[in-house]
Amino acid sequence: MENNSKKGRRGLLPGIFRNQIFIPIAALVVLALFNFAADPSFFRISFGLNSAGNPVLSGYLITILDYGSELAILAIGMTLVTAASGGQDISVGAAIAIAGSVILRVLCGHNSRPEVLQTPIIVAFLVGCVVAMLFGAFNGVLVAYFRIQPMVATLILYTAGRSIAAWINNNELPIISQPSFGYFGGFIPGIPIPTPFFIAVGCMIVTFIVLKFTTLGLYTQSVGINESSSRLNGLNPAFIKFLSFVLLGLCVAVAGLIKVSRLSTINYSVIAKDIEMDAILAVALGGNALSGGKFNMASSILGAYVIQFLTTTLYKFNVQSDALPAYKAVVVIILVVMSAPTVREKLSSLGKKIRNHEAKEVSM
């Protein structure tokens, strides 16, 4: 009776529309249609040789796949932080600068333009991971144990991060000449698809495995939804929040590796600039509440690619990179206004009137 009517109501709409992932998919379709109408050449993919003589694919879609991947990696960590703490980490861009700087420093040793690498890349990357996770832990301690709002706590690293990155390399600009270092942000010889995509896929697989074989997902959501009740179920909410920031640190290190690999060098004030905005947007566009709680990882990851789709579209229409934030800020405001409780209440009371009508018919 009660059950039946609920099922009946649900049956009126196909399941996909109720699923969170519908939001980024819809956004993707809108963007794609817009591009298709404006200039179908947007979807052209060409095959050629790059400057190193490797066969590569190129085109706007490949760019999206390439740059969207680092964003997707960040979105994974940002989703966890958002879910557990109900706030966002705005220091990811600065933290990427730090991780990248550390990786370069370890690779170069004392000489900023080494002929050969001083350490294996994997070692440098691992050191980068450790450092990035330490900075994540710093944010995590401020948020979880000192109970400072996440955004304000991460504001500290947001300001200091790029300075710290410069300081790590004595404000020099190390340049790596070894081509193999460029593989991570470019192409591996013989493979025409950009490497970041494979790295992102790797991260997604790891994330999937972690979510499948640990209780991380359940714990973070539980803490984000109801801290008090989580505690009474034996969880340690502060530690879960702390952990989410450390994991974001790991994602930051991976993104940092891709970023420095693209250029084989680093520009402290420009690297990963404004990426925090994109990462937060990816989470929001994925339909996840920015106030924390339930999350859908796949939806966030797709959201990241959609954001990159938007960025690339704007680029194509000759919007300058420095002006991009203005457009994205408008998207953010629209998203948060739509999801604001006061606005939702009004919308849902409107919707309820319609649904009541519907429900009456069903119950009859």
Binding site: E2, N3, K6, K7, K212, F213, T214, T215, L216, L218, Y219, Q221, S222, I225, N226, S228, S229, S230, R231, L232, N233, G234, L235, N236, G293, K294
Partner: protein, 504 residues
């Protein structure tokens, strides 16, 4: 309006989705009178007060105030204040970062600038006339809670209030502070202010009030002169049992026959938490069902929270099966086989956005460990098993638990703890706010669990529920354990007289 009355509420009704919170309730307050508003949880007294102060809008009825010819409409707290109805809540609703004088005058008066000199002088005058030991320039947060409450009252007095509502003002005060507050109340009474006093402390009602109005289940039980209503009678009115038909119904089943022979599962000595309860001793045997009883706010929930480690423990020792153990946080208790169904389902119980399945497996999952998640199939099996066992009405195991009805939410939380196969189960108000059928089911379940050897501590506002299930009751009054009843003493009247205390 009758002569001499300052407030008359007639036929007040208020409905919430699914609940009739108030049904045609009348209330009359006279000039210079302290009037107690009594009732157990859910009786409707806080709804009545919120209607009067404009927090809720009433669905029906009229409110008359002295000085207004027609019925008044009160739409917001500001409206209420303007009409001379002031409220002092249990939670201080002043700004701790402002000075005493500012708290008395902010939000009133016109003009851009505030004359601090004048304001402070006036504030000092009122504080002095009411004999409140505070200085106008002092920051409010540096005053004790009692003084803060008195400042709130001073504000109300200065706003020329005719009706002063004191909503559980004494629950965080010590005896001397309560005395001071009573002095102030009597002073105001002499000035002709009508005071509505809401409290759970019976002693205080009899010390300071003139009249009592009792509500139960959203309906008016009656208005009584204080001298006509002895304590035991008051308690029986509140609980809805006339003394006559309370002629000592023995519990239908003799639930526990183990006597003192079986093993003591849990034992606490001098246990004390930071939630403001006096140290208490407690023990429970295997397969026993016992309970904490007392009026709301008497400290019964705080006791079981202390057992489970939910509040910060500040003293006492705890033994499980004779062995001394340390329980400082919930996970410790869980590891020793203790489960706790909290009093406030929404805040402490459900994880609203998660599905029924996730809510059911949560506690067991936490016990099992971070790296050993249940597979989906296992989780579904557990969930389906308990959905069937407890007859939880839900569309599926994937439905978010917040969309279930209260009773079914409660069953989900119960399932969560039963899944853990606890040795000792604490149920704090498991039957609150759920329908009668489910209540009976839960009571039966408790007895069944006990027969399987699980020890259960059961707390309920409804005494007959406790009588039906428990073989021993710890009686709480004013945050202290004041008695223990078992065997032939387990009767309504005995419980009530112990709760009421005093000589009646």
């Amino acid at each position: 309006m009758n002569k001499g009355s300052v407030l008359e509420m007639r036929n007040i009704s208020k409905n919430f989705p699914g609940v009739k919170a108030l049904q045609n309730v009348d209330f009359t307050l006279c000039e210079g009178e302290i009037h107690a508003l009594m009732g157990e949880n859910g009786a409707g007294k806080s709804t009545l007060i919120k209607v009067l102060t404009g927090v809720y809008e009433k669905d029906g009825g009229q409110i008359y105030l002295k000085g207004n010819d027609k019925a008044v409409s009160i739409r917001s707290p500001q409206d209420a204040q303007r009409l001379g109805v002031s409220t002092v809540y249990q939670e201080i609703t002043l700004c701790p970062n402002l000075s005493v004088a500012e708290n008395m005058y902010i939000g009133r008066g016109k003009g851009f600038f505030q004359s601090f000199k004048k304001m402070n002088a006036e504030a000092d005058k009122i504080l002095k006339s009411l004999d409140i030991p505070a200085k106008s320039t002092q920051q409010l947060s540096s005053c004790s809670i009692a003084i803060q409450q008195m400042v709130a009252i001073a504000r109300a007095v200065d706003m020329d209030c005719k009706v002063l509502i004191l909503d559980e003002p004494t629950s965080s005060l010590d005896e001397q502070e309560v005395e001071k507050l009573f002095g102030l109340m009597r002073d105001l009474k002499a000035r002709g202010v009508g005071i509505i006093f809401v409290t759970h402390f019976l002693d205080q009602v009899y010390e300071v009030c003139d009249k009592i109005t009792v509500l139960r289940d959203g309906q008016l039980v009656g208005e009584y002169e204080i001298k006509d209503l002895p304590r035991v009678k008051l308690v029986s009115k509140m609980l809805g049992k006339e003394l006559d038909d309370m002629s000592d119904i023995k519990s239908e089943s003799a639930p526990y026959s183990g006597g003192d022979a079986s093993e003591v599962v849990f034992e606490a000595e001098g246990l004390q938490s930071n939630a403001g309860i006096k140290p208490f001793d407690f023990k429970i045997r295997k397969g026993e069902v016992n309970g904490f009883t007392g009026l709301l706010g008497s400290g019964r929930s705080e006791c079981v929270r202390a057992i489970f480690g939910a509040d910060r423990i500040i003293g006492g020792t705890v033994k499980m099966k004779g062995e001394k153990v340390k329980i400082t946080k919930p996970i410790d208790a869980m590891k020793h086989g203790i489960a706790y169904l909290p009093e406030d389902r929404k805040i402490d119980g459900i994880v609203g956005d998660l599905s029924v399945r996730e809510n059911i497996v949560l506690a067991l999952q936490v016990m099992k460990g971070f790296f050993k998640p249940f597979s989906k199939a296992e989780a579904y099996r557990f969930a389906d098993e308990y959905i069937k066992l407890l007859e939880i009405k839900t569309a599926s195991a994937d439905t978010p638990v917040k969309s279930l009805s209260g009773g079914n939410q409660q069953k989900v939380i119960l399932a969560r703890w039963l899944l853990m196969h606890p040795e000792y189960l604490i149920l704090d108000e498991p039957t609150r706010g759920i329908d009668i059928g489910t209540k009976v089911e839960i009571q039966k379940l408790v007895l069944k669990l006990a027969s399987e050897g699980i020890s259960v501590t059961f707390i309920s506002s409804e005494t007959d529920e406790m009588l039906r299930t428990c073989s021993r009751l710890v009686v709480m009054r004013d945050r202290k354990a004041v008695g223990e009843l078992s065997g032939d003493d387990l009767t309504q009247s005995k419980i009530m007289s112990t709760i009421a205390g005093g000589e009646d």
